[in-house]
Amino acid sequence: MGPAIDPGKLIVTLMAVHLLASILTAETRNLRMATIALIFQSTTLAAIIAVFGVLRGQPWLYAWSASALVTKAVIIPALLFAHIGNFPARELRPIIGFRVSIALIIVFLLVFYRFVHTNMYYIAPTPAAGVEPGRSCLAMAFTVFALGIYVCIIHRDVVKIVIGIILLENGAHLSLVTLAPSLPETTVLGISSNIVVATWLLLILAGRIYKALGTTDTVTLSELRR
């Protein structure tokens, strides 16, 4: 008698939900709601890691999943919530409007995912990346990474850019599950602590920028460009 839930199908479902949560995080204009979407996105990330642990019979991935959950779904959102009160509730209007951005994201991410998935042999010709669900997971990870870069380029609000960097790092973190599943927990904690401290410092800096300039618009931070 097999497991009640097929881990392989569960991972595919979680990845789809993870991508949707990432898009929601990227495009939600209310910063508190975007942070809640980020919690959801990080929780699915932790869940994917845990299910990989079941699928591959690698119990050390459970600890990895737990640390990802604590740092990305608890500590980082807590930092965001603690600082968001200092800024306007809604982010500044991005360079591209909402509807156009959603359409662009969907098309871009689908094309990017398909391209990476098809050419995975050239990008990461390793045994783990060659078979499913590792191949799809890695393609998804790079897609989320690309989404994070998109957020940093298109959005003007400094707090949203911080969220974009967190998305970037989540994508990189997810890629480690396929590329480097046997990383020691100390190394994983080191990577997680980086983004926690970076988020904290960026939010402090964002607060000082808002206090000094009266705006969170990073386009105004161009006085030195010459």
């Binding site: 940093c152 960097i165 006085e223």
Partner: protein
């Protein structure tokens, strides 16, 4: 050249990063309780760390060994020792310089004591993180520690709290954090490719020292992609074109001693990471040296062209740093003994003369009440002769004029590049060097020659020489700049050891 290097277990690789980190935390905490003890704690911490790094260097050179700790997760060889001694040495000089400089710049600020403890605490934390980067043998912890060096220095860039410094700090933190994440992906690709090799079964592929064996066996598509990501990632930290956008702003808006730290030490951490990773593949894949030569030549040219366009001297020196990093990375990218030696030699020399230049321009800022544009001053040589002498020393060294140190490292690089038959790259390097000399001669002339003129808060007649501690800091660097040029063999034991360490890893 001796090729047999022994491995020796020691506590020193741990101490060299634990001491400054602990002292940094203590300085930050002490500042909240006793507001007057920050400078003393910083100096104590730095002198202690310098003593450890000198002892490490002594053991490595005299015993021809590498020091390891924690089951080879910490690995200190000649290259690590070079970086650590440079970082700690510059740290001591910067603390000496800052003793009078920072309080003078922040005079009248009621928050001065807490700002000073933040300043010295972050400085020590940065050195701790840098020494961790140089001591770690774990390929992923290399990324972690390198990113922590960025985080430790971000609020040093923002130290003055002005609009411009906030902009500079924001760009620094965002661009370098994003850039270095690309490096993480590159490192993971390498790790993944190495773990899939049957020949590497049972080996500890997380260790940088094991990478050389795997380098020759990896598929070339992965190597090239990983190298591109690593260059993008660590190249952002090192200020290579086109990832250099943060560098001119951060260097210009940070306090002058921090600019000396950024140019002299912080960006070298990026170069160190490139030496530990990309250089390993340069010997095996001919495309890598060509790729590095193209990128570094562009870096040299764009840096020098942008420098010529500047009136702000700190910004000008920052663009020169971009240009000079092109030399360092190009040498390391050649993958030969001569190339790597040239890159490391120029790394050492650049730390000395660029640190000197930034401290000298900081002294000009100090003496003139805040001026840093060439168009606002002239004829200062008679009023601040020690500063002028130091600036000229740094300028001639950077321009590659003998008998200063810059000449020898650049000449070594020209030889290394021609040895690889990249004659076009050698021509660009020489041309850039000549332009650098012309630019710096122009700057020195404008500031220190001609009729006395100061268009700032301090009247021209009241411009006077800077405090002795600042002079001492500059003169130490000036003497070292001249000494290494007159007796280049002074640095040979350490540089040779460092180069052989990289070649050993390359050989696998």
């Amino acid at each position: 050249m001796q090729n047999v290097i022994q491995t020796k277990e020691s506590l020193l690789p741990l101490l060299v990063f634990l001491v400054p980190t602990a002292m940094g935390v203590i300085t930050l905490l002490i500042g909240r309780i006793r507001r007057e003890f920050h400078f003393e704690w910083a100096l104590l911490g730095l002198l202690g760390t310098l003593a450890v790094s000198v002892e490490i260097t002594r053991q490595i050179i005299t015993q021809n060994c590498v020091l390891t700790a924690w089951n080879e997760n910490f690995y200190v060889d000649g290259l690590s020792a070079l970086m650590e001694i440079l970082g700690c040495g510059m740290g001591v000089i910067i603390v000496l310089y800052s003793f009078r400089y920072i309080p003078h710049r922040l005079r009248g600020d009621p928050a001065l004591p807490s700002k000073l403890s933040l300043y010295y605490g972050l400085l020590l934390l940065f050195l701790g993180m840098m020494n961790w980067t140089c001591a770690t043998n774990n390929i992923v912890m290399l990324y972690v520690s390198l990113e922590f060096t960025t985080l430790a220095t971000a609020f040093l860039v923002v130290f003055y709290g002005s609009r411009q410094s906030l902009e500079a700090g924001y760009k620094y933190l965002v661009l370098v954090t994003i850039g270095v994440l690309f490096g993480l992906v590159g490192l993971c690709l390498i790790y993944s490719a190495a773990s899939g090799l049957p020949q590497m079964a049972g080996r500890r592929i997380l260790l940088i020292t094991e990478l050389g064996s795997a380098a020759k066996l990896m598929p070339s598509s992965v190597v090239l992609l990983a190298c591109a990501l690593l260059v993008a990632g660590f190249g952002t930290k090192a200020g290579l074109v086109p990832f250099h956008a943060w560098l001119p702003d951060a260097h210009a808006e940070a306090p002058a001693p921090i600019s000396a730290l950024l140019s002299g030490v912080v960006i070298k951490v990026g170069a160190y990471a490139l030496a530990r990773t990309v250089a390993i593949f340069a010997a095996t894949y001919p495309a890598v040296p060509v790729f590095m030569a193209v990128m570094c030549s562009a870096t040299m040219l764009i840096g020098i062209v942008m420098a010529w366009a500047q009136d702000d001297v700190k910004r000008l020196l920052a663009f020169h740093s971009v240009s000079q990093m092109g030399y360092i990375a190009e040498g390391m990218g050649m993958g030969t003994y001569l190339g790597i030696y040239a890159g490391l030699f120029h790394l050492l020399n650049h730390t000395l003369f660029k640190g000197l230049l930034f401290l000298a321009i900081g002294a000009v800022i100090h003496a003139t009440g805040g001026l840093r544009r060439m168009s606002q001053m002239s004829g200062l040589g008679a009023k601040i002769p020690v500063v002028a002498l130091c600036f000229f020393t740094g300028a001639l060294a950077m321009g590659g004029m003998p008998p200063f140190n810059g000449f020898f490292s650049k000449f070594t690089l020209f030889l290394a590049v021609t040895q690889r038959h990249l004659f076009w790259a050698a021509v660009i390097s020489i041309a850039t060097s000549l332009l650098t000399l012309a630019c710096m001669a122009h700057v020195a002339y404008k500031i220190f020659w001609g009729p006395l003129r100061v268009e700032g808060p301090t009247p021209a007649e009241e411009v006077k020489e800077v405090p002795r501690t600042m002079q001492a800091a500059m003169l130490i660097l000036a003497i070292l700049t001249l000494a290494v040029g007159v007796i280049p063999r002074l640095t040979y034991p350490l540089l040779d050891n460092a180069t052989r360490c990289i070649m050993k890893i390359v050989a696998g």
